[in-house]
Symmetry: C2
Subunit: 188 residues, 2 copies
C-alpha cells in the first residue's frame, strides 16, 4: 500500500489513459484502472469523481490562473482584450502538459461520453471567465457573450497550435481573435 500521495493520482491518470487507448473507454472498467495503478476500485473513486473525470485534471489548475489573469488586466481594457491576455497566460501550463494532452485529446475526440465531459469543462471555464469579467464591471449578459466568443477564439487558436506547435500559442491567439473580429466586421 504505497503512500505516494499525489503520485497515485498521476498513476491512476496514466493507467486510465493507457487503458482507454488500448481497449477503449467503454471496454475499460474502473477496477482495471485501479488494478493497473496498484490500488482498489474504491480508492480510484476517492481520487476521481467518476471514470471520466480522471482525464480532466488540468481543469482545477487552469481556474486560478485564468482568474488571476483577468484580474490583472489593465483597467479599462475591452472584454475581448482581457480574455486574450487570460488565454495567453495559460500557455506555459498547456506547454508542460503537452505530452499527456496529446494522446488524451485523441481518446476524448473518439469517445462521446468524454467529449460530453470536455464540453462541460469548457462551459464551466467559460462561466468562470464571465464571472470574472463581471467583477470588472462588464454587465452580466455581455460578460457571458464575451466569454463565449472569446472561448470560440481560443478554440480556434488551440486547435491550430495543436496541429503545429512550432509557433507559440500567443501567435495563434492573435489570429483567432483577429478572425473573430473579421467575422463580426463582415456582418450579421
Amino acid at each position: 500500500m504505497p503512500r505516494n500521495k499525489d503520485a497515485l493520482r498521476g498513476r491512476l491518470q496514466q493507467a486510465a489513459l493507457e487503458l482507454y487507448r488500448e481497449r477503449g473507454y467503454e471496454q475499460t472498467t474502473a477496477a482495471e484502472i485501479a488494478a493497473r495503478a496498484g490500488v482498489t476500485e474504491r480508492t480510484f473513486f476517492r481520487h476521481f469523481a467518476d471514470k471520466r473525470e480522471v482525464l480532466f485534471d488540468e481543469d482545477p489548475r487552469l481556474r486560478p490562473i485564468l482568474t488571476a489573469a483577468v484580474a490583472a488586466a489593465p483597467a479599462g481594457s475591452a472584454p475581448l482584450a482581457v480574455l486574450f491576455h487570460a488565454f495567453a497566460s495559460i500557455e506555459p501550463l498547456l506547454q508542460d502538459n503537452r505530452a499527456f494532452t496529446e494522446p488524451r485529446q485523441a481518446v476524448i475526440a473518439s469517445t462521446p461520453a468524454l467529449r460530453e465531459r470536455a464540453e462541460a469543462k469548457s462551459a464551466s471555464l467559460t462561466a468562470l471567465l464571465a464571472v470574472e469579467l463581471q467583477r470588472r464591471g462588464v454587465p452580466e449578459k455581455q460578460a457571458l457573450l464575451a466569454a463565449r466568443a472569446g472561448m470560440a477564439a481560443f478554440g480556434h487558436a488551440a486547435q491550430s497550435w495543436f496541429e503545429n506547435p512550432s509557433v507559440g500559442l500567443r501567435v495563434y491567439l492573435e489570429r483567432g481573435f483577429d478572425a473573430l473580429g473579421e467575422l463580426a466586421r463582415r456582418g450579421s
Copy 2:
C-alpha cells in the same frame, strides 16, 4: 399495454419532467418514470438512451430545420448573417415547446448532470452549423469559429427571450448579434 406509439414518448417525457421537479433528478429512478407512464423500465430505455436524454427530445427536431435554413440563405451571405437566419427559423418550434421548455430549463439549470448534457447538445448543434457553413464554402476553422460565435449570440438572445417573451426572438437575435459585433469592434 397501450400501443399509442409516439404518445408514449410524450408520456415518458412528461413523467420524467414531473418527477425530476418533484424529487430531483438524482432521487428519481428510471423505473419510477416508466411506472408513471404505465410501462416497464426496459421500455423506457428502448425510447431514450438514458435518464438524461428524455429531456432533450427537441434536438433531433432542430437539426433538419437548421440545416435547411443554412442551405436556404442567399448566396454570398456572410457566415454570421447565415447563422442569424438559421436561428430565426427555429423560433416557431421554440414557441410551441415553450410550455414544456420553461419548467424543463429550471430542472436542467439546477442539475449538473443535465447541464452537462445540455452543453453537449449545444456543442453538437454548433458542430452541425459549422458543417453546413463549410458546405457553403466557408473554410473549416473559420466555420467552426463562426458557429461558436453565432451560438454565443443565440444564447444571449434566447436568455433574453426566455426572461421576456413579449417581444419576438428575432428582436433579441438582432440585439445578440449586434452585441457580438460591438464586442469585436471594441477590440481584442
